[in-house]
Amino acid sequence: MNIVVCAKQIPDPAEPGELDPETKTLKRDGKLILDESDMYGVEMALQLADNAGGGEVTLVSMAPDNKVDGIRTGLAMGAAKAVLVSDPALAGTDALGTAKVLAAAVGKVEGADLVLTATESSDGYTGTVPEQLAELLGLPSVTFAKHIEIADGKVKVQRQTDAGYDEVECPLPCVVSVTAGVVEPRYPSFKGIMAAKSKPLDQLALADTGLEADQVGWAGGGQEIVGVEDAPEREAGEIIEDDGTGAEKIVAYLENLKLV
């Protein structure tokens, strides 16, 4: 069972983020960490490979400046190897461009039975890459998995819905996006951390992906960020003093909002 996991490396959400006033995008010149959303995919992949009695988990990532810190976390958790695509020409790549690059990276991994992603990243959160990736790879796409099992060359997924979950079966290979409920990610062990630095890491430039510069980056963007505005301030709440009719006033207030 060979599984590819998309591993996005993002600026640490614990540190204050900053937008580049010129490009209106997040500055990512500092240290990048593995997006927590992708730790679920890594953990799920490790467990599925284990349950299948073997196989390799490979990480694929697109990130600026050959940054590897986030990938190392995934390798320390137990992934066997990684493919990183990094190239100055990728600056400004939108979600579809990202999917193209990731599809090319997945193509470098031999014998992949399954591709896992998160449902959406923690920084960009368009939540569109998984489906675009599946389309580009010509594979079926199953989304919002909260439970995954593999049997008889098929993947069985419990797909989270508002009301509960759907049971979905899909032949392998396919792309599955997982929610934070799918598994509890392990902590990387110290031995894992030590082993991670010597695991194979395939570093690709744009030319290695077979994509042209005008398909990605600012040039390839099908969308443009035209403006950035602060989120509106939360309006101050209404204070109701209890003169004996407080409860009725609160009910009236909630009825007005159609909440009760």
Partner: protein, 397 residues
């Protein structure tokens, strides 16, 4: 562009490497999620958190400084200090469980054990599936450990040591996963001077009794017991290291332990500093944040000074050790300064928190009670000053 300032003291590099930074991050997350939410309850209920200690074992923390051949992480004292510091920021009890588990538990077996002893005991200790205690202190012999009264007599008929005596305050000696204690005992007397040796006593050996846990001022979630030996028999092969070298062997591993305790103190200082930075900014009195008063702001500033100084001294000692250079004096300096600073910082942090600082649910209050033992265990502050004085060539006795 200006070059990065070189962070060195006495020629040793204090910059943490990539793996040490990655470890710090993992342990920080582990401490935040698995330790911090429960620390107050463990403290109140005097619970030794066996499951969390086993999880620390799975993280590989108990194996950090031991070579890969014995199942360890193949790293060094600096790396162990990083892990201890991160745990201590949140809870001293779990930090001391790690510190003592490695330094007093596994290390003597690794350093002085025979092939057979290592094969029998090390795998579980290094993996953190088991803990060992080190029994040196006795009711009447602490700083003056040479005054040991516990006796071990070799019974030639059965080829067994017969141990009689008492040990006091022994960490990790009575947990559900304690596999053994090593004890120092007088094995002979030549020219009136005691010959002290170290002997391995497996948990559960007949004649070896673990006393009920002490009621302590702090470190409630750490395991501490008195031990009694009454005609306790173990095979002659349980002698650890050479006969008569017990005291010397103990002194040899002591310096590592002092650096590790200093790292624990650094974590305490850092933890309290962070708590105070937040609280001094948030807490309002007289219509302004309490940190707007210099009396409070300067306390916090002093904490930052102590944090930096303690950290530099501690990691200098560890770096010297890891570079194979002499570090006895530096270890004593680090242990003395960092632990005394930790006691000062926890006291001042309690002051910054006002009444809340005296209430158990405030972490600095637990840190305050916990910190005092740092000036006592693994060599009191007075003993550290003795070591430093001697290193300075003073005629002190």
């Amino acid at each position: 562009m200006r070059a990065q300032p070189q962070r060195t003291i006495s020629g040793v590099d204090l910059e943490l490497n990539e793996e040490q930074l990655a470890l710090a991050k993992v342990v920080r997350e582990f401490a935040a999620q698995e330790v911090a939410p429960h620390a107050e309850r463990w403290d109140a209920e005097h619970t030794f958190p066996t499951d969390v200690v086993l999880a620390m074992g799975e993280l590989g923390l108990f194996g950090i400084p031991f070579p890969e051949e014995v199942g360890g992480g193949g790293a060094d004292l600096t790396t162990l200090c990083v892990a201890i510091e991160e745990l201590a920021k949140v809870d001293q009890s779990v930090a001391i469980t790690l510190e003592a588990g490695v330094g007093l538990g596994a290390n003597p077996i690794y350093c002085f054990g025979s092939e057979d002893q290592r094969a029998e005991w090390l795998p579980d200790l290094v993996a953190g599936r088991a803990l060992a205690g080190f029994g040196l202190t006795e009711p009447d012999a602490g700083s003056d450990a040479g005054a040991t009264r516990t006796k071990a007599i070799l019974d030639d008929d059965t080829n067994e040591w017969v141990i009689d005596g008492e040990k006091a305050f022994i960490t990790n000696s009575g947990t559900p996963i304690t596999s053994l204690v090593t004890v120092t005992a007088v094995t002979d007397r030549t020219d009136g001077r005691p010959e002290i040796s170290t002997i391995v006593v497996p948990a559960g050996t007949a004649g070896f009794e673990v006393q009920p846990p002490y009621r302590k001022m702090g470190w409630h979630a750490s395991d501490t017991h008195g031990l009694s030996f009454d005609g306790c028999r173990v095979p002659a092969a349980n002698l650890l290291g050479a006969r008569g070298r017990g005291f010397a062997n103990f002194l040899a591993i002591l310096d590592d332990g002092r650096v590790a305790i200093a790292a624990l103190a650094v974590g305490v200082i850092e933890g309290c500093l962070a708590e105070c930075q937040r609280y001094a900014t948030e807490r309002v009195a007289f219509g302004r944040a309490i940190g707007a008063n210099q009396a409070i702001a300067f306390k916090v500033a002093d904490m930052a000074v102590m944090a930096d100084a303690a950290r530099a001294l501690t990691y200098r000692a560890a770096a010297l050790r890891d570079a194979g250079k002499p570090f006895k004096r530096e270890a004593a300096v680090a242990k003395l300064y960092a632990t005394e600073a930790a006691v000062t910082v926890t006291r001042e942090a309690t002051q910054v928190f006002g009444g809340y600082g005296f209430i158990d649910e405030t972490p600095v209050s637990r840190h305050y009670r916990d910190a005092k033992i740092l000036e006592i265990g693994e060599g009191t502050s007075e003993v550290q000053r003795l070591v430093i004085s001697r290193e300075l060539g003073l005629p002190v006795r």
